[in-house]
Symmetry: C2
Subunit: 766 residues, 2 copies
């Protein structure tokens, strides 16, 4: 047992009240004096040359202040890596998906801006388009980018161990074909920005971004501005899930329109714009071959994936890396081959999304493991325990596992769900069949990419003993502000309510890479800890004098400062700060800390290298009821055991896990973009068509926290909950198989597919 | 000669462009989503008991969201020191001046709020009022505060050396009676605030304040809020001149109205409200007795002052202290007695104003010195040189002078203005008489008051080599942001345009006492210097490795980093920061510095102790033309020699000196509140009646900078320009005497007074 006062407690979120009452403002809520509204003009073709753009009618409309096109951005291109810079903020020459942004208008109000956008006349020369990645990769397919013959956006090949030898040594080899679906991040808050470009060149931006420092760097580059003149001020963020890392066309447009008009310009995408044109999770086509020994030991895996990348590459290198390189966890797979192609198609581009990359290949791997287990007569729990990685394990591609309670998670979850009995018991009661499925899982805890890997924090101690924490990390809704504040409170021995966390402002809060790959706790956490320790050290020097001891003998706990050697000699923390800051000359207590991820940048193409300081693990059991007449699946119950290291706030872990289960449920059972194959048009462009799970649809959830103390994470903490995104898909599909005897290898699981699978299952008479 | 690259240069202000273009926003320009407008109800009596306040009609007016009175502030009182807390934000029981704030209204717009304020019915029981401080001090005068019999707000007695002995040893003793005027700060921007009180208790305020940390402390105390929940965000400030230190009734009202309504509330005082009811410079009645030797050596001074304090005490202790204790400069006065009474009267309260305190008694002293010089047949320049203090001088009350070029200033100014010839030459040409007058001067460079004396700064170095400076100091218009940025640029060896200064935000910028008593350069300057040095040290460690030398051998200058021992080995600063921050693990370069004024808190009542780290000096000659028929004075020319230590930016010194001269000219010749003696009503309540000098009225100005390197100030810098406020008054009045032979000992110098003085001068036939 630890003796923490704050950490490990179920404390409410520091941003809970303003978010619930509406006091907390999001980007779309804000306004600026003299502000104009911007609107985008979008392509009406999926693939077409732009012959001419006539903005004259729009410019003449009363109330219109400026109209811009791609020309106003001077040929700026962007992308995650120099070699993948294939996107322009406003399309100057050729549109590559239906809804792509071509021009933007600023006007006195939103309606006028929208009307004006409709007055811009674009002459197109339509080109044949391709939406399916397999079609796109065929010879003779319409070429989407000049630089990319064959429409290959990326092609990564990984090879760890000796795969051929592994298959030779296998007793049984299984080969299957899988598909995952194309889904929307579905955050409540759409993209929104206000940009204010001042006459001295200072650019101030209020925008909904989960990684504001991405935008700060991109804007500095795009507009040739010094970084200290690009000020991104972060309002509350209504979630991102990987969709709000990049800068988007509206962001560039708002800046350029503001520069042109000399006024602040606001642009907010409508839900329809979000659903038709914004980034999506990539869908994968997966061919997987796995070889095992009779006892279920995995000997080799060969995996070929084709991802539907959409029109641009974006953060694709990371997706394709994660889908391959992370497959060496959570099972001991010593021989792995991965061939990953990201294809360009004429649909909106694909981006990061929770469970990024791994969710797809792990879905295939888990289903295949169940098939193998059945073939070999091994219990699904048992085959997982046999292959599960253990603490201090190094994968063949160099991922370094520190703490790992995977086996305990599998055991606990199967005990809690009464696996043995439930798995084998009679499945149906008339038309309703019951089933249970298990999945093990893993995810990384932060990622090292090239450059700017360090996080920093500063701590300002007020006279009255309250504390302000400045971090460059963004709480996009996941609760990281609460966790960072708890760390600072623990170090300083004060209560959580004594800490406030300032919203990010690139001019005043220290730089931070951003909120992605579950990195905030493990990377920004240590920075907050160091900053608080630095402030505590300064206070300890004063306290030592007052208490008559050495600084190393001063303890801080529960709002008190005391002699460690004689704890009865104590004083209130607030008294110490009053004396230190308020009396005499008045010290200024400013703590400072920074933390660079002490790991090497891995090679994305080969998959070699350790990408994360630590890895989370877990196991999940899903229970379903299937109506065998209608194919309707009712997700009844799920049991999750999660090793997220030391849970700094178990309540936050719980709520995050619940959110992941609900999101993954949607992506397993309901959510998929329907695209008209002739035009590339997205058919389900509102949430009455693009369906998501509601409260009544979600299963009962039971979370068992299986703590470990990881040597790398702050206080032993690791990633929490993203791993559960990864295990939900396969555990539901396995449960459907357990209920019906039918495998559904292509997401999403619609009632039609369930009925079809039941009818087509081996030995079934149709 | 120094070899600075940035310091000492005539560089334009960092905030120049946004202020000139209007991009820079002031508090009144801002708005918040859902914002309401507030208006104050003001007393219609100068002195009256409040019997009842009926807000019901106001509350019923459509659009009104809340009405508050003093009751809503729970009896909170405030003031500069615990013993002087005699003011309430909204008057609950008794009004003490006409226009005092009694209630406030929040409504959907400004007009509705104003209409509603007019619907509040206050029942008064009028009391006899007193406006003149001499009347107020008489037995039987109406008593304004229950605690203060005799209407004495403060009574300070100082006694340095042996005054009686000094007079005994004097050859000549002079006694005179003087009065100074009651003036308005006349900043362009009125008081303005938006307050947003969130449901979780966080209070965010955008307000026009020169010392936002005053407000942060007062609000924390008034509303029982933790300091880290009181967030004061500073917009651009349209000057303060001492008027914007405190929190005012509108500030409290906006907060309470916001709390009550759950909406942001904005209140902006009109110019009429500012002129009728806001703080004013205190007017003084001065009886001064000075004894000298035949050679002009000052032997003793006895000074009794009565200040018209108005209804409340506020910052009065400092005014009364400065008026007395600073009289021991700029002349060697070893025996000084000071008896200062601050009287309560039924007019708006008196506050700080440039040349705070000293301006009044120095005015009297300078005039008297001229009278003595004439009596003894000594040239005014000569008598000043004879008594002038010199470097490393300690006054009898403990003020410690470091650098001092007072004698050089007197000499240079008299040479430049051709004093000898001009002073003695024929004065009149028909009805126009010409005259010349001299004054020496001094002022303090920051002040030590109890608590929170330290300034701090942080420096954030961006990847591209640009730099953000965070300071808690406020640039209220004086140009301190430019000076602090220059200091950071000099230390880091970058260009001024590479630095930006963040506007103050009590949650993110480090705490700072505020902008008063010319303290920012001398107190916040060293903090900025230390922070930049701290960042430089971190960068030097990386540079040392790259250059192959030790960190102590790394120089920073002109955008380059080089080996001091071999300057040809160099690299661009921007390359160093790219490598340091952007490459490898990415360091986070955050510099931190704080500086506590290393002097003791003086005793305000006795005047003992050194209040400031250093003292500025100067001398000024004014030349006037007087129309002896109309009494009109034309201020033709002034020559100023100023020892402000090392002038960090001579152009800023110049513009500040010019501003002081213009302001002091107005306060000598044009500006004075006219108060109806029956009702206490201010008569001149708009700028067509309350006249100030326009560009065409100002004299030609010639500034000679006489640099010293002060041992205490940063790079040798001291206070700049406030001393010249102090010398302008007497130099104009002495010039009028030189022109006409008539002394005007009561400010302001109106044409009527000039004619009267000419007619009444000794030997003149009327």
């Amino acid at each position: 047992m630890n003796d923490y006062s704050v950490l490990g407690k179920r404390l409410p979120r520091v941003d809970g009240i303003p978010k619930v009452t509406g006091d907390g403002k999001y980007a779309a809520d804000l306004s600026q004096p003299g502000m104009l509204w911007g609107k985008m003009l979008r392509s009406t073709h999926s693939h077409a040359k732009i012959l001419n753009i006539d903005t004259s009618r729009a410019e003449r409309l009363p109330g219109v202040k400026a109209v811009i096109t791609g020309k106003d951005l001077g040929g700026f291109t962007y992308g995650f890596m120099p070699i993948t810079r294939d996107e322009t903020p406003l399309c100057p020459d050729k549109v590559r998906f239906l809804g792509e942004e071509i021009a933007a208008v600023a006007a006195v109000d939103e309606d006028t801006a929208e009307e004006a956008a409709g007055l811009i006349k674009v002459e197109y020369q339509p080109l044949p388009a391709v939406y399916d990645p397999l079609e796109a990769l065929k010879p003779g397919a319409p070429q989407i980018h000049e630089h990319a013959a064959g429409n290959i956006s990326l092609h990564y090949k990984m090879n760890f161990g000796d795969v051929e030898q592994g298959f030779k040594e296998s007793d049984y080899i299984c080969e299957d074909h899988f598909r995952t679906s194309r889904v929307y991040h579905a955050m409540l808050e759409p993209h929104a920005i206000i940009a204010k470009w001042e006459s001295n060149g200072d650019l101030t931006v209020w925008a909904s971004k989960q990684s504001p420092y991405f935008m700060y760097r991109i804007f500095a580059a795009a507009f040739n501005l010094p970084q200290n003149r690009v000020r991104i001020i972060q309002p509350y963020i209504g979630a991102g899930y990987g969709a709000k890392n990049d800068a988007f066309p509206l962001d560039f447009a708002a800046c350029v329109l503001s520069k042109k008009t000399g006024k602040p310009v606001k642009i907010v995408y409508s839900q329809k714009e979000m659903l038709t044109s914004s980034r999506r999770r990539m869908s994968f086509i997966i061919d997987m071959k796995t070889g095992v020994k009779k006892d279920g030991t995995i000997m080799a895996r060969d995996c070929r994936v084709i991802g539907n990348g959409g029109a641009y590459t974006l953060i694709g290198p990371i997706t394709m890396y994660l889908a391959g390189a992370l497959m060496t966890l959570p099972y001991k797979i010593r021989n792995l081959r991965y061939d990953g192609i990201r294809a360009y198609t004429n649909i909106p581009a694909s981006s990061a999304h929770r469970g990024h990359g791994l969710a797809h290949t792990h879905f295939a791997g888990e289903l295949q493991l169940d098939m193998i287990a059945e073939e070999l007569g091994i219990d699904p729990v048992e085959i997982r325990l046999r292959n599960a990685v253990e603490p201090n394990y190094i994968t063949p591609n160099g991922l370094k596992v520190g703490s790992c309670a995977l086996k305990e998670c599998i055991e606990k979850v199967s005990t809690a769900a009464n696996w043995k009995e439930t798995y084998h018991k009679k499945k149906s009661n008339g038309r309703i069949a019951r089933g249970i499925g298990i999945s093990a899982t893993t995810y990384l805890s932060g990622m090292r990419i090239r450059g700017h890997a360090a996080c920093a924090a500063t701590i300002k101690v007020h006279e009255d003993g309250t504390v302000s924490l400045l971090t460059g990390a963004t709480d996009a809704g996941q609760g990281s502000d609460t966790v960072l504040a708890m760390i600072a409170a623990e170090v300083l021995g004060v209560h959580l309510e004594d800490i406030n966390v300032s919203l990010l402002d690139t001019q005043t809060t220290p730089a931070d890479p951003g909120t992605y790959s579950s990195r905030v706790t493990t990377c920004a956490g240590p920075a907050a800890k160091l900053a608080a320790e630095d402030a505590r050290k300064q206070l300890a020097e004063v306290a030592a004098e007052l208490l008559g001891t050495g600084a190393e003998d001063v303890g801080f706990k529960d709002g008190k400062v005391f002699m460690i050697s004689n704890p009865r000699k104590e004083m209130p923390f607030k008294r110490l700060t009053r004396i230190t800051v308020g009396h005499g000359l008045g010290k200024v207590i400013l703590g400072r800390g920074y933390y660079g991820l002490n790991i090497e940048v891995p090679d994305f193409e080969t998959g070699l290298g350790n990408i994360s300081p630590c890895y989370a693990f877990g196991a999940q059991i899903s229970e379903v009821e299937v109506d065998t007449e209608t194919g309707k699946v009712d997700y009844k119950h799920t049991t999750v055991a999660h090793d997220c290291g030391f849970a700094l706030n178990p309540m936050l872990v719980e709520s995050q896990v619940e959110g992941q289960i609900s999101a993954a449920q949607g992506q397993t059972m309901y959510e998929d973009f329907l695209v008209d194959e002739k035009t590339g048009r997205t058919i389900n462009v509102a949430h009455n068509d693009y369906k998501m799970p509601r409260a009544a649809d979600t299963p009962n959830m039971h979370l068992i926290q299986v703590p470990t103390i990881d040597p790398e994470g702050p206080y032993g903490a690791k990633e929490a909950s993203e791993a559960i995104m990864v295990s939900t898909y396969p555990s539901i599909v396995s449960a459907i198989y357990n209920a019906t005897g039918a495998w559904i290898k292509e997401l999403i699981v619609t009632p039609e597919k369930v009925i079809k699978a039941i009818k087509e299952k081996p030995g079934e008479k149709t």
